[in-house]
């Protein structure tokens, strides 16, 4: 009798623990929704659906999303600006852009206790500070430039043979060029110095190519150096500094 009772208790305990573990291991979407709840955002569905796209594409890890949302929730500042930071990332995902640099910059800004407005909009003063909005613009402009050069897409009148790269490899090229241009402008250098910009970009890309596991493979590096010129960089840099 005692043995049966013990057996029953053990079965109930095991089932209970299993159900509890399954319940805790809720889906990524549920966890992001729950984290967003702490921010009381009005555009929760839009952010959620965009983040889901990012999760499925491998452009945003759920752990990165929770971390950023948690950090935003703990930060001082206006709830609308916190929501705007998440929306900027969501819009970039909806626009088929990589977002790792945006997430990283938001994390850095929050760690530095920079104001939410500065993280979002930057500053046109000296030194110039790029916010997430300017960085999102850069990502889109570089992506469009590569498209126009026949890298990844096949535009009409594109130069040379079209080169289709896998999405994440293409993202690395977009990230590398965008990040370089952001660093160049934040360093206070002139957007009119196309040749100098091109030399520095080449140096950056070569460094990324020379790693044991290259961030930019040699063939992608060569594609960029063959097809992107100083004038292209100047055009984007000038548009960037004209951003409001």
């Amino acid at each position: 009798m005692k043995a049966r009772l013990a057996k029953g208790l053990v079965v109930v305990l095991a089932i209970g623990l299993t159900v509890a573990a399954g319940g805790i291991a809720q889906s990524d979407t549920d966890r992001v929704r729950s984290a967003l709840g702490s921010l009381a955002v009005k555009t929760q569905d839009e952010i959620l659906s965009a983040f889901q796209i990012g999760f499925s594409q491998g452009r945003l890890a759920p752990s990165e999303a929770y971390h950023l949302i948690d950090r935003l929730a703990a930060a001082d500042g206006d709830a609308a600006e916190k929501e705007a930071i998440l929306l900027t990332i969501a819009h970039a995902l909806q626009d088929d852009l990589p977002v790792s640099l945006l997430v990283e910059k938001a994390e850095e800004g929050l760690a530095r206790r920079v104001s939410l407005s500065m993280i979002l909009n930057g500053s046109a003063g000296q030194p110039r500070i790029l916010g997430l909005k300017q960085r999102e613009f850069l990502l889109g402009a570089v992506r469009d430039l590569l498209f126009s050069k026949g890298i990844f897409s096949v535009p009409e009148g594109g130069q040379g043979e079209p080169a289709a790269l896998p999405v994440l490899r293409f993202d690395h090229v977009v990230n590398a060029i965008s990040d370089f241009l952001a660093d160049y402008i934040e360093a206070g250098k002139s957007p009119l110095e196309g040749s100098a910009m091109m030399d520095e970009l080449s140096h950056r890309l070569n460094n990324l190519c020379a790693l044991q596991t290259p961030v930019i493979p040699q063939e992608d590096l060569q594609l960029v150096l063959d097809r992107v010129g100083p004038g292209d960089l100047t055009t984007i840099a000038l548009k960037l500094v004209e951003q409001p």
Binding site: K2, A3, A6, K7, V10, V11, L13, A14, L17, T18, A20, A21, G22, I24, A25, D28, G54, F55, S56, Q57, G58, R59, L60, A61, P62, S63, E64, H67, E104, K105, E107, E108, G109, L110, A111, R112, V114, M118, S123, P127, I129, D183, E186, A187, G188, N207, L208, A210, L211, Q212, T213, V215
Partner: protein, 192 residues
């Protein structure tokens, strides 16, 4: 151990005592006990598991308890690890500080005599402080991190103040109006 073996062990130990001229009786019992214990066969994991699964009447509840609890613990630990490392997520690894295949050991060094706390923050740890230590109190704070190859921006935080100009950096960039150091980890033919 069979009784015959026990006798032989005691006899051999006594002979050893005589041969070694250890005539002192004090501690003899302990020495024999130690010798016998050393010769006892150890019970392997398989034997222990077989013992647990043996169909004795009183042990059945225990067996079920062990099996049920083990299954639950494995489920929970599996969920916990997957959740923490995002291994099941398409986004790849979370913070780069997690152990990574092909990771390089990267040394971060910051001279800060008299400082109370020194940490490094960067793109490899989601800008969350990883503490440096000064074990020999020479004012040189160090941390060695395992990082996958890549380009990382970082800064030191000394007693709460950010310091982004590491002399060991490969380059420097401006970010939010301040300096960040940059390291290329995993350069072919070069250090981290």
């Amino acid at each position: 151990m069979r009784v015959d073996d026990l006798d032989r062990t005691i006899r051999e130990t006594l002979q050893h005592e005589v041969a070694a001229e250890s005539y002192c009786l004090e501690g003899l019992e302990d020495r024999i006990a130690t010798e016998v214990a050393g010769r006892l066969p150890r019970r392997g994991l398989f034997d222990r598991l077989r013992g647990l699964l043996a169909p004795t009447r009183g042990a059945r509840a225990g067996q079920l308890a062990v099996i049920g609890a083990t299954a639950a613990v494995f489920l929970f630990v599996g969920w916990f690890i997957a959740d923490r490392t995002s291994l099941l997520s398409p986004g790849g690894p979370g913070p780069a500080l997690a152990a990574a295949a092909g990771a390089d050991q990267v040394l971060f060094v910051m001279p800060a005599p008299g400082a109370h706390s020194v940490a490094v923050v960067g793109s490899f740890n989601d800008w969350e402080p990883t503490p440096l230590s000064d074990k020999n109190n020479d004012g040189i704070w160090r941390a060695q991190l395992s990082l996958p190859p890549g380009r990382y921006e970082y800064a030191f935080v000394v007693d709460g103040r950010w310091w982004g100009q590491d002399p060991l950096a490969d380059e420097y960039v401006r970010s939010f109006g301040e300096y960040n150091s940059v390291r290329y980890v995993g350069q072919v033919g070069g250090g981290a």
